[in-house]
């Protein structure tokens, strides 16, 4: 069992959710997404982001518009569609459940705590 592999698996699971949550907050440029995720200490390769965005766009969850740029070719700014919002809400609920479950499981069991208390002097 490779620890790094497991770690990246865990990160990957929430990657989409994180990206969607950033886009939900407003129109955004892909490299900004990378920056913001980096700031939140969640690293992603830009090369992975583009295909991901394209797929989400093709699935109808995102849409984009061209914005002229003075430092290069026109930029694509992504924004969320209604369908994407629905999708996001679904993901958020799942995440909440998952987080709760993980929380509950990773905490020391309450019952055992109770059992242990009487034995303590």
């Amino acid at each position: 069992m490779d620890i790094q592999n497991t770690q990246s698996q865990m990160r990957k699971g929430v990657l989409e959710f994180c990206i969607l949550s950033i886009i939900r907050q407003g129109e955004v440029y892909p490299s900004d997404i990378v920056d913001r995720m980096k700031a939140a200490n969640l690293h992603i390769l830009e090369g992975t982001l583009y295909p991901l965005l394209t797929r989400l766009k093709n699935a109808g969850l995102l849409t984009y518009r061209w914005v002229e740029s003075n430092s290069g070719p026109p930029r694509k700014y992504f924004v969320m569609t209604d369908k994407g919002l629905e999708f996001y809400n679904e993901l958020e609920r799942t995440w909440q459940e998952l987080a709760d479950a993980v929380q509950a499981l990773t905490q020391p069991p309450v019952t055992s705590v109770h059992e242990e208390t009487p034995t303590q002097p």
């Binding site: 592999n5 990246s8 698996q9 990957k12 699971g13 990657l15 989409e16 892909p30 490299s31 992603i44 390769l45 830009e46 090369g47 992975t48 583009y50 295909p51 991901l52 965005l53 394209t54 797929r55 989400l56 766009k57 093709n58 699935a59 740029s69 430092s71 290069g72 070719p73 026109p74 930029r75 694509k76 993901l91």
Partner: protein
């Protein structure tokens, strides 16, 4: 010191170090391969390129004079290499539904492709379905080898096609990275004698140029020498087939011609590099061009005026190279290429395609076999040609027809096949035109030849010749054909009417026999020799060449087996019509050997002239081994012993049939009679009974007794008859059964 070039990247001119450009190019290419099966591949690549262009812009804005290796490396690292994506990509989209599973599948495997491991069909290196290309990529060998192996399996057992189709369906398709170090086979235009085939092969196999040249040339030289020797010793003036069809030399000649047509010429600098197996990149191309340039210079000094042409050629080559590079790059960056994930939907289409190709292949193969058969037949008839053809022009036309009309399609087909096998897609346009043109010339030659041969049969003449025979004393003439002393067996090519054939004569048994009624009381035999010719004179001359005789011993006439055409005499439908006149009342027997050893045939319409007054209804078809007798009404069969016996038997059968019919009637009759008699007797008995019942009269007792006795006497008689007629009936029935 580094060279800086300007590139047009995402609509902007960017100064970039050459090595950095190579790196960038490679990177984009690797991305393209990674996302090969992704639905929005071009969009993704475009987005990434856009971002890179933006980063370049930033870098230049910050004061960099050009994009360096470091800049590109930095950008690539921040974007991530396909190897880095791999882990990250694989499970990202598990939530996007079933469609995503395919991405997952494809993307996980994409990375492995570059690292080798899975078997795919190669989208980049394909002729049909890319199966061979994929296998070659998997095995890291030249696709041509795999193709040749497949072709071999197909031609040996035929299972190759099935295997191919199976793999076509099973294996997923994706563009694979070619083996960059693969050498390709080109013709070398720089070192050539005829077309540079030998030198191209030499550089492909890394051997000295003279080796393949010698292999090609040696049998040719040998062929020429032997044909000269043959010509010297046998005075056989036929050098044309000697050189070209001198078995081995001929094969190699054809091989050279095919290779010439199949192998592309290494025109551009990059092709020349591929030919030598050197790595193709900008620097090496430049070096090659410089080498070329120097070579051109020295040649220019040598040949002066030719320099201009060569320089132009060079300019074209260079332009082509640059143009190709530009195109390549354009193809890489542009969004023209459309590759849908047509995996599932494509299977049906592929099946149809495979089926179509299969059928087409079979048709093509059948065509090839037919043509080959024609070729072989043509060669088979070849020994006969001297008897058919007259003069140089006809010989020439015959060769032209054989080579062009029949040979060209064969060569064209082989060429096409090899081109397909070698994976040369863009055909030389002129090649097709050349083949079509040559074939058309062959067709015209064939037409002219046919016409001129037909013209040689224009006029027809015949000549009557009467043989003197001794009248047979037995009143019966037997006609036989002697056995020949020399027999030729096992000639695969058989033609009716030709008994044997050797170098200087053709033996024909084109003889027909007919039997007619004699005008007088003697047997007569005469022949009509006939022949066609260009004109009457030629026809008559041909007739005089025919020598056909008969021999007689007692009542048996021996006919010649045929007649021979000497060398120099042409075959012009020569034939002999033998007529035997049989007087009325005399007999004739034609032996089986006649119909077995003589054979009637003619080319063309035959002879439809009037056969004089003798050609009347008397000329009935005769069968061999049957004795005929001439009657005033014509030929009639003579009853042989078997015939008589047969007739007798038939008569017997008829009689027996009649007999049995009589017997039945007789039986019926007798039965009726018996019935009547029985009834009559019964009536009598009743009468007697009545008498008996009359009042008893003693005076009549004696009488009564007498009648009683009488009755007792009669009854047994009836019974006896009844008994006897049962077996009688059974035997009748038995007989009836036998009859029917």
């Amino acid at each position: 010191m580094k060279k800086v070039i300007n590139i047009n990247f995402q609509g902007r001119v960017i100064p970039i170090e050459e090595s950095a450009y190579d790196m960038l190019k490679q990177y984009v290419e690797s991305l393209r391969k990674f996302f090969a099966n992704e639905e929005g591949r071009d969009e993704i690549i475009n987005d990434i390129e856009g971002r890179i262009a933006e980063l370049f812009g930033d870098s230049l804005k910050k004061g960099a004079t050009c994009i360096t290796d470091d800049t590109v490396n930095e950008i690539i690292n921040s974007m991530g290499r396909p190897e880095d994506f791999e882990g990250e990509e694989s499970n990202v989209h598990s939530q996007l539904g079933g469609e995503e599973k395919e991405y997952k599948f494809n993307n996980t495997t994409a990375g492995e492709t570059t690292a080798r491991g899975r078997l795919y069909r190669d989208d980049n290196e394909k002729i049909l379905g890319g199966v061979c290309g994929g296998l070659a990529n998997y095995l890291r060998i030249d696709p041509t080898i795999v193709r040749l192996v497949f072709a071999l399996i197909t031609f040996m057992g035929g299972s190759g096609i099935l295997l191919y189709i199976l793999l076509w369906i099973i294996l997923p398709s994706r563009p694979l990275e070619g083996i960059s170090s693969t050498k390709r086979l080109y013709r070398n235009p720089d070192e050539r004698v005829i077309a540079g085939v030998a030198s191209g092969i030499a550089s492909y196999f890394d051997i000295a140029v003279w080796v393949p040249r010698l292999i090609f040339a040696f049998p040719l030289v040998l062929g020429i020498i032997t044909s000269i020797f043959r010509g010297a010793f046998w005075m056989d003036v036929d050098p044309f087939p000697g050189i070209i069809f001198g078995s081995f030399g001929g094969t190699l000649f054809v091989v050279y011609a095919v290779l010439w047509a199949v192998i592309p010429e290494a025109k551009s600098a990059s092709e020349k590099l591929e030919m030598r197996g050197e790595k193709v990149d900008l620097n090496t191309i430049k070096n090659t061009i410089q080498e070329d340039l120097e070579g051109f210079k020295s040649r220019a000094e040598k040949w002066g005026g030719e320099f201009k042409d060569k320089a132009q050629q060079f300019g074209q080559e260079f332009g082509q190279t640059v143009g190709q590079k530009g195109q390549q790059f354009g193809a890489e960056t542009g969004s023209a290429m459309k590759r849908g994930g047509r995996r599932l939907g494509g299977i049906i289409a592929i099946l149809f395609k495979a089926f179509f190709l299969f059928i087409a292949g079979i048709l093509a193969f059948a065509l090839l076999v037919t043509l080959l058969a024609f070729m072989v037949a043509g060669v088979g008839v070849f020994p006969l040609k001297n008897f058919f053809l007259e003069g140089f022009s006809q010989n020439f036309l015959a060769w032209a027809t054989l080579l062009l009309f029949l040979g060209v399609p064969v060569v064209a087909f082989i060429t096409w096949l090899i081109r397909r096998i070698m994976g040369i897609k863009s055909g030389n346009r002129y090649l097709g035109f050349t083949f079509a043109g040559l074939w058309f010339i062959g067709l015209v030659c064939g037409g002219i030849l046919t016409y001129s041969i037909v013209r040689n049969f224009d006029a027809t003449a015949r000549e009557k010749h009467e043989y003197s025979i001794v009248q047979p004393s037995t009143g019966k003439l037997i006609v036989k054909v002697p056995d020949s002393k020399v027999k030729v067996y096992g000639r695969w090519f058989k033609m009716d009417g030709i008994v044997s054939m050797n170098d200087d004569s053709l033996f024909l048994n084109n003889v027909r026999l007919r039997i007619v009624k004699s005008p007088d009381s003697a047997y007569h035999i005469y022949s009509h020799k006939f022949s066609s010719g260009r004109d009457e004179g030629a026809a008559v001359k041909n007739i005089h060449e025919i020598s056909y005789n008969i021999n007689q011993s007692d009542s048996t006439v021996w006919l010649d087996r045929g007649f021979s055409l000497k060398k120099g005499t042409k075959f012009r439908n020569q034939g002999v019509q033998l007529t035997i006149q049989v007087p009325v009342g005399k007999r004739i027997l034609i032996d089986r050997t006649v119909s077995r050893r003589l054979n009637w045939f003619h080319v063309g319409n035959g002879y439809d002239w009037e056969w004089d007054e003798e050609w009347n209804s008397n000329n009935e078809d005769w069968n061999s081994n049957i004795e005929y007798i001439m009657t005033p009404g014509g030929l009639e069969r003579v009853k042989t012993k078997e015939d008589i016996e047969e007739e007798k038997r038939r008569q017997r059968d008829q009689d027996r049939e009649a007999d049995s019919e009589n017997a039945v009637e007789q039986y019926k009759k007798s039965k009726e009679e018996l019935q009547k008699e029985y009834e009559r007797k019964q009536r009598e008995a009743e009468d007697l009974k009545k008498e008996l019942d009359k009042p008893v009269d003693t005076t009549r007792y004696r009488y009564k007794k007498a009648t009683a006795m009488n009755e007792a006497e009669t009854k047994p008689v009836i019974e006896e008859r009844k008994e006897s007629h049962v077996p009688f009936e059974a035997s009748r029935l038995l007989m009836m059964q036998m009859v029917y």
